[in-house]
């Protein structure tokens, strides 16, 4: 198999490192574990002040939006770096939903239409928070939901469950049978759910004659949502990477300092080997996540395969890192006051978000032409060329 194009750029650029520093220092100030813990059980689990600074101050909300539409004109590589830092902090901000998924859906519609471009500008400036009304578990390559119908003149009925960050939204992007609609939050009924991951609140969105503005026809809407799901899944790998890195770093620091049997517990070979293996997994997850971000940024023909590989791999690494973090902290890891549980809950929820590892392995089977027993190879979206 020969290489028809340059390999993925798997490093970080200087600009990306500068963006990382800005996001990391904001989160260090505003998103310390104690403040997240204090917030997650209140009726406002989101942190609007941090989101506002991240979205408008640092410009993260518009990273993926071209400059002529009011955004930063950056790429998926930069967005991935933001997600790494948000994962590292389990920050309760709606960047994945608003900054990535909603922005990508809108960009997948016709940006020359006034409705779409107006909304994009508000989204990119951080002026309005727009969230797609789709279940967090919706995966690229899976059938799109059909629970919302247009009963006439943009009047929508139906419901969608497990919508992430809906509680913070000003506008919901609703996929109905006749197209994509922008629906003001005031038009829908939100039923908050009790989420496993307290830092990414979920709600059921019920539309009962809600009035929306149509942004795209059905075919365009479905393609836009499918494209956004691919991007979201690819960039979620970076959130999982950041999360796993925090777990590894904290655990290493803990086992170096914690003494039992008159030795630091980190000097026991059984623990050293577990952490060395975890470090290897995290280093590999970084390569996989970077490849996905670069493939999306460059529009590589094998981006769907690269995203599926990254999700199939990074989901498991994040969960394993968080599980090891809890276990190797011993009793402390089981307490509410230590933040390890926030990471475990986010990692486990992330492993269901935008497709499970198993779902993504199924996509790998299709793209790499490794069919399941009893099936003929499908039409591959991206063959196994490097």
């Amino acid at each position: 198999m020969t290489s028809p194009r340059a390999p993925f750029d798997l490093l970080y650029s200087e600009t990306e490192e500068e963006l990382r520093s800005a996001v990391r220092s904001l989160l260090a100030d505003r998103c310390a574990p104690a403040s997240i813990l204090a917030r997650v059980e209140t009726d406002q689990p989101h942190d609007p002040r941090t989101w506002q600074t991240l979205a408008a101050g640092i410009g993260a909300a518009g990273l993926l939006v071209p400059e002529k539409l009011g955004g930063q004109g950056a790429s998926h590589r930069e967005a991935a770096v933001v997600l790494e830092e948000l994962g590292r902090a389990v920050a309760p901000v709606p960047y994945l939903t608003a900054g990535v998924l909603a922005a990508e859906i809108l960009l997948g519609c016709d940006p020359s239409s006034a409705e779409v471009s107006d909304l994009l500008r508000q989204v990119a400036s951080g002026g309005r928070l727009c969230v797609p009304a789709v279940p967090l578990t919706l995966a690229p390559g899976a059938p799109l939901p059909t629970g919302v119908r247009d009963v006439g003149a943009g009047t929508l009925t139906g419901s969608v469950t497990s919508v992430a960050d809906a509680a913070a939204a000003d506008v919901l992007l609703v996929l109905a049978d006749t197209g994509l609609y922008a629906v003001p939050a005031s038009e829908v009924t939100l039923t908050p759910l009790v989420p496993l991951d307290l830092t990414r609140p979920l709600a059921r969105v019920t539309l009962d004659g809600a009035a929306g503005t149509r942004l795209a026809d059905a075919a365009t809407a479905r393609a836009a949502v499918a494209g956004a799901l691919l991007t979201g899944a690819g960039l979620l790998a970076s959130e999982q990477l950041g999360l796993a890195e925090w777990c590894l770093t904290e655990t290493v620091a803990h086992v170096r300092g914690r003494h039992q049997f008159n030795r630091p517990i980190g000097s026991f070979q059984a623990l050293k080997h577990r952490l060395a293996r975890l470090w290897l997994d995290v280093a590999s997850a970084r390569a996989a996540a970077r490849a996905a971000a670069d493939a999306l940024a460059t529009g590589a023909p094998d981006a769907p395969l690269t995203v599926a590989v990254a999700q199939a791999y990074c989901s498991g690494v994040a969960v394993r890192a968080a599980e090891e973090c809890v276990q190797l902290h011993g009793g402390i890891g089981m307490t509410w006051e230590h933040p390890a549980h926030l990471y475990l809950k986010r990692a486990k929820a992330d492993s269901l978000a935008l497709g499970t590892a198993g779902h993504h392995r199924g996509l790998v089977a299709e793209f790499a032409e490794l069919p399941a027993p009893g099936t003929r190879p499908g039409t591959a979206v991206a063959g196994p060329t490097p």
Partner: protein, 395 residues
């Protein structure tokens, strides 16, 4: 400092003076060494030009494009990868001039006499003795070495031996260059689980080594050996593998060609390993990009661990996938391969040979310790063997 353009000129001059088509292989290689184009980062007069190491790729690719012969680096890998950098770092001028040119040209093959039956992962525990015969100015060596690749073809060996058993184990070791044709050197093939004998046992009985073939000071052999061992692990990571290259390739090919062999269980495991192989490939690629950008990361220490595990899991799956054919083996005849090559062999061979990947060149357990201690900064396990005299250690 030599630039890329200067190197291109030198390559052109070499090719003009010694057209590869009309020049005997050995003559061309000697001329290439003398032109400083063997390993450009080595000093002038020793096959190099003191140029940045990264420029070697340019020389190699230009010469390859011109159809020039290479020095069969896989066959002389131990000399190139281990003996040469150690001789360069610790050798006298006389030793460098005597050994580096025939080593690089491949006229003299090298092997490594480090591991012993009683000192594998705990290499510094070695017991092969070297005693100085002061009147003759020679060392007399007695002992047994093991796992010695190329010993049966080698002209020279790098050898570590104990010269003072009263000192702690790391301090009483001295490093030598050993003539494999010297009386008292006996090489016996060591047959492995594959049926082949890649390696040898080497018995040393009263072998005499002139003091002029000592590398580094008496008692400083451990420091010299560390240079050798660090160079052993440098080699991985430089190579670029295509997607679905390596061990996963034959399994994926069999899966596509043989629908009759497919089961759901095997499918799930194949996909997991395919993904892991792709991620390992990307990790190696990222490491390579870091090296090119001058930001070497610690990932190199881990790549060998990853490949050992993947090779074992993938080859194990392959045997199962083949069903009845997996019960068969191509050939148990004892052969003596000069290089290890996983391609062009059957699944059973790959499965058995891959078992060595987590043992040779540092076991996975030792490498995990290295990652834990040097990369993650975790404390070493308490140990009592560093201060005790070697002769008092438990054996």
């Amino acid at each position: 400092m030599t630039t890329a353009d200067e190197l291109r000129v030198r390559v052109a001059e070499l090719l003009a003076a010694h057209p590869p088509a009309d020049t005997p292989r050995g003559d061309f290689l000697r001329a290439r060494f003398d032109a400083g184009l063997a390993w450009v980062h080595y000093p002038e007069g020793l096959g190099g030009l003191g140029a940045p190491r990264s420029l070697q790729v340019l020389v190699d690719s230009e010469l390859e494009a011109a159809g020039a012969p290479d020095n069969d680096p896989r066959r002389i890998g131990i000399g190139l990868g281990m003996a040469a950098p150690t001789i360069l770092a610790y050798g006298t001028e006389e030793q460098k001039r005597r050994f580096l040119r025939p080593l690089w040209v491949g006229e003299e093959v090298w092997c490594q006499l480090f591991s012993e039956p009683g000192a594998g992962s705990d290499l510094a525990a070695l017991g092969t003795r070297a005693v100085l015969d002061e009147a003759a100015g020679e060392w007399v060596v007695d002992g047994q070495k093991v796992w010695t690749s190329s010993a049966h073809t080698a002209r020279w060996a790098i050898l570590i031996a104990r010269t003072d058993p009263d000192l702690p184990k790391h301090q009483g070791i001295t490093y030598f260059l050993c003539d494999m044709h010297a009386p008292g050197v006996e090489v016996r093939p060591l047959r492995q689980i594959t049926g082949e004998a890649e390696f040898n046992e080497v018995f040393l009985t009263g072998v005499r080594i002139p003091d002029g073939h000592r590398l580094g000071a008496v008692g400083q052999g451990w420091a010299v050996a560390r240079t050798t061992l660090m160079n052993e692990r440098v080699s991985i990571g430089g190579m670029r593998i295509p997607r679905e290259g390596g061990m996963i390739a034959p399994v994926a090919a069999t899966w596509r060609e043989r629908p009759d062999l497919r089961t759901h269980d095997l499918h799930q495991r194949l996909l997991e390993l395919w993904v892991e192989a792709e991620v390992a490939r990307l990790t190696g690629e990222r490491l390579r990009q870091q090296l090119v950008a001058g930001q070497p990361g610690p990932e190199g220490s881990g790549m060998k661990l990853t490949f050992a595990r993947l090779n074992q899991e993938i080859s194990a799956l392959e045997v199962e996938l083949l069903g009845e054919e997996g019960l068969l083996y191509e050939d148990w005849t004892m052969r003596r391969p000069e290089i290890v090559d996983f391609t062009g062999r059957d699944a059973g061979y790959r499965y058995l040979r891959a078992k060595g990947n987590s043992i040779e060149g540092g076991t996975s357990e030792i490498l995990l310790n290295i990652v834990a201690e040097r990369v993650l900064g975790l404390p070493a396990e308490p140990r009592d063997d560093k201060e005790l005299a070697w002769k008092d250690l438990a054996r």
